[in-house]
């Protein structure tokens, strides 16, 4: 694929650690309930250049206030920014050092925590504490070396609970959970390689055995550009399998924007003026729901001229979509959206209104266009100004920005890329010296690499290479080994369960994440004591996922093992029913009869034993 060759991509991975919180002694877990709601405002402060950070300012201009909920055992005065931090948590720091060594990265001689300014409310202090642990590592992905720019240790942000009436409510349970942030260099060249790299780094992180698992415990940011394009950050992708789509779609979007740039330059389009005009009177009798809604709540309809922008806002059969970009920018100023001339008349806006608008705005040029916004006047003006600014950016190509990934594999505008001047020292946390002897100790006792684990699984538990590889990649190796060491002769059943049964169950709509490690251990414990037959395991797991305690599942399903005499009785009755067939085929009847026998036994006896009992029953009948 030619396009793929043009992609320049780097990944940033944020992985939660399973230690205590980074700067207090709270437990690091999420809570279903929160208490209280302390109101706070966050002001952007001046950065070191003496100017206020532009990303910070964009957030503040939204005029948001925040409320913070506490949660028992998992939030304290430190989390609420009412007490200086302690720490950092020694186990979390150790994990970051170990992981750095696994990436062959160079660890700083002295670690300094910084404050990264974030005023969207997700950090009570208005900044995230973060330290650069190491630089200059690498990771091998399918034979290619991907460079590691940095490994950082930082605190996770508070969890957004709801947003209404200009206030965002956060819960402080997640705030302060340690995160390892690892950033690759811009070395990734294809959408698939993005996923493979993330997978490899994720496996290495898990090898430290101190990371959290499950949804939301690992997040990926993608930095994507194409030649002539610009660095765009897609922040917070959670599903690994979506990464190739995000990369491919962003590359496509940037190509589209470069096409638009060429068109505009060819036309000689000049940057449009951001001045708005009140055109409310034109829409006085409009039947458009959006317009009527805005006007009834004392809003106005404002318009801007966009000379030279016709046909690129929505053109070429939907391939050129600058309008969508403008609308996303406008929405970040609190309006529902904008309308532009490439899409009108539509949405209930009448041709008459469009004609009047064209007249009023004096749009005579061949490519003249316009955009309108119906909302309270101030909001409408700032939204339209933002939309025009976005349109003007199209003249230079792709704007650098942060975007939110969407479930369909595309993304939407979130905010400008944060500037570089957003960090200053966390003076409340003293620097931490890292001695050579400490690093020697760490190097001497590094965790097993994934490929070493694979080898060991093959050697010690008799699985094949393919199985070993999948167990490690899909993060089952630890549990698999627990089962193997606790119960004898279970390795084949365990491998089948994780590599086949789980995906089959998922396909039939069973949520396997509801089966805890302890559930699995209990199920294998019963299996090893022959409390049910191996064939019954999928049914049992399905029942456990539905909420039945493991020890009750076999009885509930009627799948408890039966003793030999009961099994014999059932098998003999099956044979008896088919006496004629058995007599005609003799011993060869055993093969065809296995199916009906297993069906009658309903998994209460394992296949091997059933086969033996069947042979005996046949012999008994034919004498």
């Amino acid at each position: 694929m030619k396009d793929a060759q043009e992609i320049v991509c780097g990944i940033e991975i944020h992985q939660q650690l399973s230690t205590r919180k980074l700067f207090c002694s709270c437990e690091s877990r999420l809570c279903d309930e929160g208490e209280g709601a302390y109101f706070r405002k966050l002001r952007p402060t001046t950065g070191e250049s003496g100017e206020i950070d532009r990303a910070a300012l964009a957030q503040y201009n939204k005029g948001m206030g925040f409320r913070y909920q506490m949660a028992e055992d998992v939030s304290c005065l430190v989390d609420l920014d009412e007490e200086p931090p302690s720490g950092p948590d020694p186990e979390a720091l150790e994990t970051a050092l170990v992981f750095s060594e696994m990436l062959h990265a160079k660890i700083a001689d002295e670690i300094h925590f910084m404050r990264k300014v974030v005023v969207d409310g997700s950090n009570t202090g208005g900044y995230q504490r973060s330290a650069l642990i190491s630089t200059g590592g690498w990771v091998e992905v399918n034979g290619r070396r991907i460079s590691i720019l940095s490994v950082c240790l930082e605190e996770d942000a508070a969890r957004k609970i709801e947003e209404k009436d200009g206030e965002i409510t956060f819960r402080l349970d997640r705030l302060g959970i340690p995160l390892i942030e690892v950033a690759t260099g811009p070395d990734i060249r294809s959408p698939e390689e993005a996923m493979e790299t993330a997978l490899r780094i994720g496996t290495l992180l898990r090898a430290t055995k101190r990371v959290k698992r499950g949804i939301g415990t690992i997040r990926e940011d993608l930095n994507i550009s194409i030649p002539g394009g610009a660095r765009v950050e897609l922040k917070g992708a959670q599903e690994l399998r979506m990464l190739p789509d995000y990369v491919a779609n962003e590359a496509k979007r940037q190509k589209m924007l470069l096409t638009i740039k060429d068109i505009l330059i060819q036309r000689g389009t000049e940057p449009a003026d951001t001045g708005t005009e009140d055109v409310t009177d034109i829409f006085a009798g409009s039947e458009s729901k959006v317009i009527k809604g805005a006007l009834s709540s004392k809003g106005k309809v404002l318009a801007v001229r966009l000379p030279g922008f016709a046909g690129v806002m929505n053109g070429d059969g939907g391939n050129l979509r600058l309008g969508a970009e403008m609308a996303q920018r406008a929405r970040s100023h609190g309006v529902k959206g904008i309308f532009h001339s490439d899409e009108l008349p539509a949405y209930g806006i009448e041709q008459r209104c469009v004609d009047d608008l064209i007249g009023r705005l004096g749009m005579n040029g061949a490519n003249d266009a316009f955009a309108i916004c119906a909302a309270p006047e101030r909001k409408a003006r700032s939204a339209l100004t933002a939309a025009v600014e976005r349109a003007n950016e199209a003249l230079t190509g792709v704007p650098e920005e942060t975007r939110d990934p969407l479930p369909d594999g595309t993304s939407k505008y979130s905010r400008p890329l944060p500037g570089a001047s957003r960090m200053y020292p966390e003076t409340d946390v003293p620097p931490i010296g890292i001695t050579d002897s400490r690093l020697d100790h760490i190097r001497a006792d590094l965790p097993e690499l994934p490929e070493e684990t694979e080898e060991r699984l093959i050697r010690e538990h008799g699985v094949n290479r393919q199985q070993a590889r999948q167990l490690v990649r899909q993060d089952f190796s630890e549990l698999f080994e627990r089962i193997c060491s606790a119960y004898s002769d279970m390795s084949a059943a365990a491998a089948t369960t994780f590599l086949n049964t789980y995906s089959e169950l998922e396909r039939s709509g069973v949520d396997t994440s509801r089966i805890s490690e302890e559930d699995i251990m209990a199920a294998f414990s019963m299996l090893s004591e022959s409390k049910f037959a191996k064939e019954a395991l999928p049914e049992i797991l399905k029942e456990i996922a539905a909420g039945t305690p493991p020890e009750k599942a076999p009885a509930k399903l009627g799948l408890e093992s039966v003793d030999d005499s009961e099994a014999q009785r059932i098998i003999e009755s099956v044979v008896k029913e088919r006496e004629e067939f058995v007599r005609s085929k003799g011993k060869a009847a055993a093969g065809p009869l296995m199916g009906p026998v297993m069906e009658s036994l309903r998994g209460k006896v394992d296949g091997k034993k059933a086969s033996r009992l069947l042979s005996e029953a046949i012999e008994k009948l034919i004498g």
């Binding site: 009412e82 300094h112 910084m114 202090g125």
Partner: protein, 431 residues
């Protein structure tokens, strides 16, 4: 810790200064970044560089490492213009002393200093100028633990000058550690001051987006601009949120928590007023109205005054010489105002020597009452003066002032029992 000699020499040799972009060559590796201030707790051979990513890291410099300056920072001076005063707005003078509310990070070097000038503080909260014409006067730039009697005196003089020059109110940004001492000192020194004099602090430094400096300052300015109360006050957060602020009487307030935003509480009385985030002021007690009169600062203080907290095991051998060397002592006694028998004798002896001995309670809440138990009665008969629900620190500051502004010790003792600046009262309501 400071740099090692080896590293100091290298930096000098390269003429590298904080803020310079430098290259550090160490073996095969080269580090490029901005040279940051050496941290107090950094090892002596560690150089702190701010990398292009914005992160600081510490790098150990070896004997054969090389330092080279690549670039000096461009010095930017920000032009400041005093805006024209607006008619119809009250005139507020802002006399700054330093402290957390005015402490700032020097981003160039990473060091935190109480370096923010009064005008910078106002520029950081431009909405202040919608409430009042703000005139700034930097007085000190110190953390509040370094505030001393001399600073109280200079401050009281400066406040009086501002009022007499036409200020409708004076705001004093102040470090929180000793803010209640300064508030008490100003309360006595300025007496019937005709305008509001309001101390305001912050528990989170103003370089942080979450700083309470901005909102406290706004609440403070709103209370001042209303112009309904004269006297010395302290304005801080009422709770943990940025939505309600308390105005405390300067002689009735105490820092009750090391770090919370709502650390300041009125003791034994309700706060004088509250200010909500949208600027509504609610008055909870009756306050003296401002008047057009002049302010007078009586700033003499007797530094031969001491404050002691009684504790079980307090050794007379240690404290008798200290007390007898003083001209006045304030004891924070137990319960209703007691000390153990051995210290009782020391205090009696001090009374006999003509030393003013004042009794307060370390309970803080409630009043002294020395008529209830034997020990109390003994102390009373010896001449110990109980001062009711006056806070120990306030009594200490007041005694210093009373001794220096009275004809005799007896006169000072009499002043101690008279309420002069709202510092004590006869009624304690259910709060």
């Amino acid at each position: 810790m400071v740099y090692s000699e080896m590293l100091s020499k290298k930096l000098e040799g390269a003429d590298a200064k904080e803020g310079d972009r430098i290259s550090l060559r160490k073996g095969d590796e080269e580090y490029v970044g901005r040279l940051m201030a050496h941290h107090d707790f950094s090892a002596p051979d560690i150089l702190i560089l701010k990398m292009s990513s914005g992160y600081n890291i510490g790098i150990r410099v070896l004997k054969d490492s090389e330092i080279k300056v690549l670039e000096r920072p461009a010095v930017k001076t920000v032009e400041r213009e005093e805006p024209e005063p607006r008619k119809g707005l009250p005139n507020i003078s802002l006399v700054s002393t330093g402290g957390t509310i005015a402490s700032f990070v020097d981003y160039r070097t990473g060091a935190v200093r109480p370096a923010m000038s009064a005008s910078e503080l106002v520029d950081a909260v431009p909405e202040l100028r919608d409430i009042a014409n703000i005139k700034t006067r930097p007085l000190f730039s110190i953390f509040s633990e370094n505030m001393d009697i001399i600073h109280w005196q200079k401050l009281a003089d400066a406040v009086a000058e501002e009022i007499n020059a036409g200020a409708d109110a004076v705001i004093v940004p102040h470090g929180t550690d000793t803010m209640s001492y300064t508030a008490a000192a100003l309360s006595f020194m300025l007496g019937d001051v005709p305008k509001p004099v309001v101390l305001v602090g912050a528990q989170r430094s103003s370089d942080r987006p979450s700083s309470d400096a901005f909102s406290n300052l706004m609440a403070c300015a709103r209370f001042c601009a209303e112009g309904k109360a004269a006297g010395v006050f302290v304005v801080m957060h009422e709770g943990l949120g940025d939505d309600l602020f308390s105005v405390h009487i300067g002689s009735r307030v105490r820092k009750m928590h090391t770090s919370r935003r709502d650390a300041f509480r009125s003791i034994n009385v309700p706060p004088a007023a509250t200010v909500s985030k949208d600027g509504k002021v609610e008055y909870l007690t009756e306050l003296r109205a401002p008047s057009p009169g002049k302010a007078e600062a009586r700033t003499a203080m007797d530094d031969g005054t001491i404050l002691l907290q009684y504790y079980p095991g307090m050794d007379p051998k240690v404290f008798a010489p200290i007390i007898s060397g003083s001209r006045g002592v304030v004891i924070a006694g137990t319960g209703l105002g007691h000390v153990g028998e051995p210290m009782c004798r020391v205090l009696k002896d001090a009374c006999d020597r003509g030393i003013a001995v004042i009794m307060t309670t370390q309970c803080l809440g409630g009043t002294t009452n020395m008529n209830v138990y034997d020990t109390g009665r003994d102390l009373l008969s010896a001449g110990v003066i109980p001062v009711g629900d006056m806070l120990p620190e306030v009594a200490y500051v007041k005694l210093m002032w009373a001794l220096a502004n009275s004809e005799s010790v007896e006169d000072a003792k009499r002043m101690m029992t008279e309420t002069m600046a709202n510092e004590s009262g006869n009624r304690r309501c259910l709060l």
